[in-house]
Symmetry: C2
Subunit: 626 residues, 2 copies
């Protein structure tokens, strides 16, 4: 098999309009892409399968929310303060660079350069040490603060790449696109950086829709935005992208999953923290059941989604040995996450995060509850009431008010905010009759024991209130789409010009090519009839009645990844038979139209394989057409 | 039948979370809505049917483009200058109103008020005249300029509604959301107001993908944005909405459509200009073939899409008698359109535009070609070459350059930009040997007849170049969705509390409810098995195993518009039969599981009707459950 060539693939993707830079006739803008017909259909099919595999399979509550998001929401979620990258400027030209990427590129180039120049020999201890240092910096590049990046830049004497000028200290750049809502100009909004927040805000409505039953999941598919400092790597790092996100809400005390048994034997590749911290990158393979049992993966629900994600990706055509699940190191997690596993897919750009499976804990629901006072919580009726002792405070209003007068409210606020421990301490202080308390207004107030009572009470709770934890599998559709294309791309033995994209039938942009042998009028009616029949079967087709040779037309559709082709020739007109060609093997069968249509439907729905078809129907051999 | 109550419907839509204001826990922002599970599924189904009905049916080239659009693109398209509404401010409070809506509301309220106060009697000529004037103003409200609106406000003494304060003169407010791209802050972008521009920019790539064959269509489904001054009318006027747009490219000399014959007998309701200008609103009904023949609808392609749109909307469940196609009056068309028909759907908000079918002529492709110099044109090989005479200019470089020196370029630019008529005039002037020309730099230059030759030449063209015209059917999915809900909403005879949404099966958010009679464990396994079988058939289900009565659970799903329900009871456990209930009739049949599943699949795909099922299987009668 020929070695992979990214430039050849890119040439193909451009030629067949899988995708292209947006506004290209205006020169384009980095990080924006338009999906042409095959890319758009491929994306639709991936989304459709995602919806079937996740949403319909588990009756998830799908929603479709606003993209423009009120600034307040994202302030609360932490995105306004923390969703940013570090940038540095060329002090003379003003050119802007993303600090971590710049450091990474420069150090990697230097490592390569040193290697090529033969500077590093086994015996050269100093350069070995230096090499190790550079490598360490590159590996940890995601984890540095702005200050640290500044120090690295100065230590390694990194300059503006084109001009050699000095660089400024790193400054923070928020990655959200900002806009303003309505005619006043005063109401700020951002384009959402994820669909998750929109889901969290609707938690109460979801829970009600679900008849108050826990656990359950919401889901959303849609566009999100990230104003990257310097987009790169094609579809892998863009400013506008389609995400599919699941928020699975669980009881923090019970992260079991009812359907875990169905997936427990699914084997997946894991790269847990302890392996990474040994500096190793070879994953371990094991059934997810074992991984959860051994606590490598924290709980069943997280494990369930890792396995389901694995099944989804491999069903699309992602190669098993180019897929791994890597656990985040503690210092690389997003501000909201308490554990996180990335599904990483290997492509010519390296191992790239395509799905993040994060345990966001109760973070988001808690911050929104605190901010809005709208309780995003679960109330669970307890079969057996919960009985326990609690230290409680009771204020003697008759004395308290008149004695403290205008300050009563301030002191009351102070007291009601004390926790049990603090109440016990206060009780002790009051044994002497009087004590001073320091309140929020900065003043001290004297209170005496007759102002209040502090005592143990027996509490009986019939309802348990809790903020659920959230397990979030979040899919970057564009990244999956590009990685998939690399995985299914190959060229025919002995002819590098003849490229093929071997998408599985359900994923392929178009299912069937329809080619009349020539422009002969006798064929037109047949093409028309067949098209109509195929549409009724919901099989998406491409008719190619151009004057190119049949071989040329087959090749063109191999490049589009169209798995099947029906050819209409003179025999078709005579006896109503047509041929069905399969893309990868290029083998054909010839049968009556109705038989072919049934076979095709089964193939497209992946109810039978081409091998099974060939074992049932004779191969049709005809002169090589080209 | 009970009279329609919008507030009851709204209550239902809120209770069942069809949609709700976005960021509601933060107080919400006008014009933004989140679709909950049933709304989201309904929207998906409408989009899915749209894609099958339009894109797959005609092999349209679907794309998915960037939402953020380079400002330059929208400057060229005219949106930066012309996509705006007029607003007025309360001079004291600064409150902002959309001028036309304010005028409309105030005048309508006054008309109503006058009527109620009995001020207008048949005999009162003055008030009759005044009434007519007000009505005329309201009817023409879409067509006024800012200046005219200002005059109307002052003439009718319209004040700020809440405060009674004066209003400012109308000022223009651009309806696009603005943002900036990248870290410099200098690159301006807008959120697209339509998907169309993204399609136009890719015209060359589409044409190539289509093997240079004309005519063809591109299509796109996605979010667009409009920063409304004061959003209102629920889903009908929002700031963020999903559109589905088709751009059908045709030869301006041939707007025939190859498949027009398939739709020519489709009868639709038309409200052409001539009827409207007579002040009438009763549409005429006729087959689209006749409408095109009589030139009521300009051409076959436009007619084809009106008919196809009619078929699509009625298939969704839009009522025939509440759908009409209204032609735009010349002064109400968008800046790019040369003819336009709106599919208007009647709801409690009146007749609302839900689909616009515009002939955008060559406008967009022309302006982008002129601006970018990237030719968005078609090159057609002519079977018979085109031969004609043309006046052409040839410059005698040997004399021209040396004589005019530094000014040669300026004069050459002037000359090469002359059209045939101007060239003939120049030729005449040069008969005297010399003449003066006024160039772009403001100077006059003397040129003599030996500088150049102007003569008739015979031109033979083998290729015809033209900019295609664009017929654009543009669908507002949210408006269609809301109107549809109104059309299928009703309450059961004698019980207004029992509401039903009679979505056709293919459109319904969920296809089948699965209800075990009780929480009995014997039912759980059956529910599990059946769920899994239904999912394999791609039938979306909702399991309701809550402790509510069966009747209550049926009602809840009638409100969700779920067309079918399967009930599992003790007999199911014994003999493997289950009952199938249909939503509208509430009738049931009882058969073996496999039979029911097959019947259900056929019903969901609308291959059979419930009436047909009832004619084949006996009705199952059981005690009324409630």
């Amino acid at each position: 098999m020929t070695a992979f060539s990214r430039s050849s693939l890119e040439e193909l993707l451009k030629k067949r309009f899988f995708y292209a830079p947006s506004f290209q006739v205006y020169g384009g803008v980095a990080g924006f892409y338009d999906y042409g017909p095959p890319g758009c259909a491929l994306q639709s099919n991936i989304i459709d399968l995602w919806r079937k595999h996740f949403v319909l399979e588990e009756e998830m509550l799908e929603m479709d929310g606003a993209i423009i998001t009120l600034a307040d929401v994202l302030k609360t979620s932490g995105h306004v303060d923390k969703f940013s990258d570090w940038m540095v400027k060329d002090v003379k030209t003003g050119d802007i660079f993303r600090a971590d990427h710049l450091v990474e590129n420069v150090l990697e180039t230097r490592l390569d350069g040193d290697k090529q120049a033969g500077l590093m020999t086994e015996n050269d201890a100093t350069s070995q040490k230096d090499k190790k240092k550079k490598k360490g910096t590159v590996q940890a590049i995601d984890n540095y603060t702005g200050k640290e990046l500044g120090e690295i830049i100065s230590k390694h004497n990194i300059k503006s790449p084109e001009t050699g000028n000095d660089l400024t200290e790193p400054v923070e750049f928020n990655l959200m696109f900002e806009s303003s809502i309505g005619p006043t100009g005063h109401l700020k909004g951002y384009l959402r950086p994820e669909t998750a927040q929109g889901q969290f805000l609707n938690f109460k409505k979801f829970l009600e829709f679900n008849n108050d039953k826990m656990p359950f999941a919401s889901a959303s598919i849609g566009r999100s935005f990230r104003n990257e400092i310097s987009p790169r790597s094609g579809l892998l790092r863009v400013r506008e992208f389609t995400m599919a996100e699941i928020e699975h809400y669980v009881d923090p005390n019970n992260k079991k999953h009812a359907r875990f048994d169905e997936v427990k034997d699914v084997k997946i590749s894991l790269l847990p923290r302890h392996i990474q911290s040994e500096g190793k990158t070879v994953p371990i393979e094991m059934p997810i059941g074992e991984a959860v049992e051994k606590k490598i993966v924290d709980n069943e629900t997280l494990g369930y989604f890792l396995a389901r994600t694995h099944l989804f990706l491999t069903m699309l055509g992602i190669k098993y040995d180019r897929l791994r699940f890597r656990q985040h190191m503690p210092n690389e997690m997003a501000h909201y996450a308490c554990d996180c596993w990335d599904a990483e897919i290997q492509s010519s750009y390296g191992w790239i995060e395509c799905v993040g499976c994060a345990d966001r804990s109760a973070y988001d629901l808690t911050v929104h509850t605190n901010r809005t006072k709208e309780k995003l919580i679960v109330r669970e009726s307890l079969a057996k009431p919960l009985i326990y002792e609690k230290t409680v405070l009771e204020i003697n209003k008759k004395i308290f008010g008149p004695k403290l007068r205008q300050s009563a409210k301030t002191v009351e606020d102070y007291l009601t905010n004390l926790n049990e421990e603090q109440l016990e301490a206060l009780k002790k202080e009051l044994e002497d009759g009087k004590t001073m308390v320091s309140c929020a207004d900065g003043n001290q107030y004297e209170i005496s024991s007759d102002f209040l009572t502090i005592q143990k009470q027996t509490i009986t709770e019939h309802v348990r209130e809790y903020i659920p934890n959230v397990i979030e599998p979040s899919f970057g559709i564009g990244r999956i789409l590009y990685s998939l294309i690399e995985h299914v791309y190959w060229t025919r033995e002995g002819d590098e010009q003849r490229a093929v994209l071997s998408f599985p039938p359900r994923v392929a942009p178009f299912k069937c090519l329809l080619v009349p042998l020539s422009n002969n009028l006798a064929f037109s009616k047949l093409v028309c009839d067949l098209s109509s029949k195929l549409r009724k079967l919901h099989i998406s087709i491409k008719v190619d009645d151009s004057s190119n040779s049949i071989g040329r037309r087959y090749s063109r559709n191999d490049e589009l990844g169209t798995p099947f082709a029906i050819t209409i020739d003179f025999q078709s007109v005579q006896d109503g038979t047509i041929t069905l060609r399969e893309r990868d093997s290029t083998k054909q069968i010839r049968e009556k139209t109705d038989t072919i249509l049934q076979v095709l439907k089964d193939l497209v729905e992946e109810d039978v394989t081409w091998e099974e078809v060939l074992s049932k129907y004779p191969i049709f051999v005809q002169q090589e057409l080209d």
